[in-house]
Symmetry: C2
Subunit: 344 residues, 2 copies
Amino acid sequence: MTEERLISWLNSRPGTSALVDDCAFLDLGEPWAVTVDTQTEGIHIPEGLDEEVLARRLLAVNLSDLAAVGAQPAHAFLTLAAPPDFDHRRFFEGFLYDAIAVGLTLSGGDVSRGDRYTATLTLLGRRADGAERFMPRSNARPGDRLWLGGPVGRSHLGFLLGQLGARLDDSGVLSLPRHLPPELLAAAERAVRCHVEPLKHVKEQLGLGVDLVRLPRSAGLDVSDGLAKDLHRLCAESGVGAVIEAEAISLPEDDRALAEFLDADPLEAALGGGEDYVLLFALPADVEAPGMEAPGVEAPGVEAPGPGSGGCREIGRVTTGIVELNRCGRLRALPATGFDHLAR
Amino acid sequence: MTEERLISWLNSRPGTSALVDDCAFLDLGEPWAVTVDTQTEGIHIPEGLDEEVLARRLLAVNLSDLAAVGAQPAHAFLTLAAPPDFDHRRFFEGFLYDAIAVGLTLSGGDVSRGDRYTATLTLLGRRADGAERFMPRSNARPGDRLWLGGPVGRSHLGFLLGQLGARLDDSGVLSLPRHLPPELLAAAERAVRCHVEPLKHVKEQLGLGVDLVRLPRSAGLDVSDGLAKDLHRLCAESGVGAVIEAEAISLPEDDRALAEFLDADPLEAALGGGEDYVLLFALPADVEAPGMEAPGVEAPGVEAPGPGSGGCREIGRVTTGIVELNRCGRLRALPATGFDHLAR
């Protein structure tokens, strides 16, 4: 049974509330958004990551779900299983440093021994001042414009570099595969950091999410399983279709050169790579996306963001039809599995 | 670093709230108690358990933490990793059946593939009508009487039987080691069910917990790591000592005969066995423990509860001294590790 089928079956059972959005929306006296996620070494994340990197990554993936609904981080509950040589202090120092930075308090948890790192984080987020609601997936309407809160596909390039041996050491120093051409080094470093340490841009997305719930109408989610799949989810919950522009989601030229070196199709990476952790959202056509206060998430030495780097970009519009991709003026159905290079 | 030292270190750091009680007490507009716990096959629980048994056990261990503070179950968030042959429907049907029975709604979660069963459950419990507070560990005062909400040590006998091959099959039918004398069969069945399916008596403890928070003063926790260790925790948080009576915590005769057969000391099992999931609590000397509505948690065919079975029993009193055990009129210090047979 697939996860989607399981969830749809669960939604039909008594004893469950709607399992639809990135967070559950609960009235606990005041309105709260709650999300929970697990990360396991070797399954969701590469083996051998430093404890501080693990902590940041755990926070990032879960905070992204709060960003997706426009909630403000408040309480964290953490369970952690780890092998005997795991440096708990390093992990928790990293966790608390960034938790404090986004307004989270570690309010409870459980620590045990395991044969590998597994952590489950539950986050409670409050509704932002001036917001009447959280942001659901179901609010998109035909005619809306579609937006992304940051680049998609770059994280996948970082993942591919990891498979070639790219590593971040305990001090945050990056080692890249030796055969990488020098002109790709800057893009490679950016891609690896984007993949391994998504927290920096997730912090931006938290601010963006809060701006979005202060607008009269918005619908959205975070792109974690690939743009195509998450766009299908947004459209399914809103009962709409969409057209997105291949040009608008393409990465900057140095990313595309890196993709070519890695034998990856940049459009496939953008549509199906996943782990992007940026918001995908729909706004009424006459509403502009909020400006982002800190658009530069780039590595040191990189200039002001160009197309396909920081900031919100418009990528298409909501329709009454199916989910489609416009590439060089040709419309074709975009499957939830992403863009299939071979089927062009 | 031990878990206790880690928690004490965490409590000294900014970005954490007091990690002390079985639940975190949060003001989320109204007062809520939140608890989270993980169970992993092969570490916290035996391998090869049926999916429905796993679901009930997961609920039991976590509900016990809500019982410990007198909270009423409301919302559940579940993450589950399991191998390909795991029967998700069976698991969730079992989970939802019992969740509904205690007033829980499954409000969110996450399902993924793993090489073995690992589940993390986060529960939110509300304050009971007519209660002014949750029950903390820190409210015990010298002169209070100490009580247990059920028997301790029996679960440990079930654990030992499991090591000898006792199993519950998919239909709830028990198979016991063949060399067990017939006169021990009833006690053995009760012990295995107590260990593998603690949910029945945890449901009673939930009711007991709510009764306790309606009293003017009470302090307590659930016995999960052994009576001695959890008594030390209660005393440490309240800044008191205690004397408990060996006689008062002893199991009924058939349990003691089973212990002898299993080469276990019944007093050691009661003090250090763990996984009992009954409440240990202190009440002012002039206050009687609440009656329990359903004292019989016994296997079918067992008569009305005698000493050491269902119902609350008084086991000692709170002092200004250290934590001590009174055995046959002789007082001796009771270490947190439990009763040491060899040191008598």
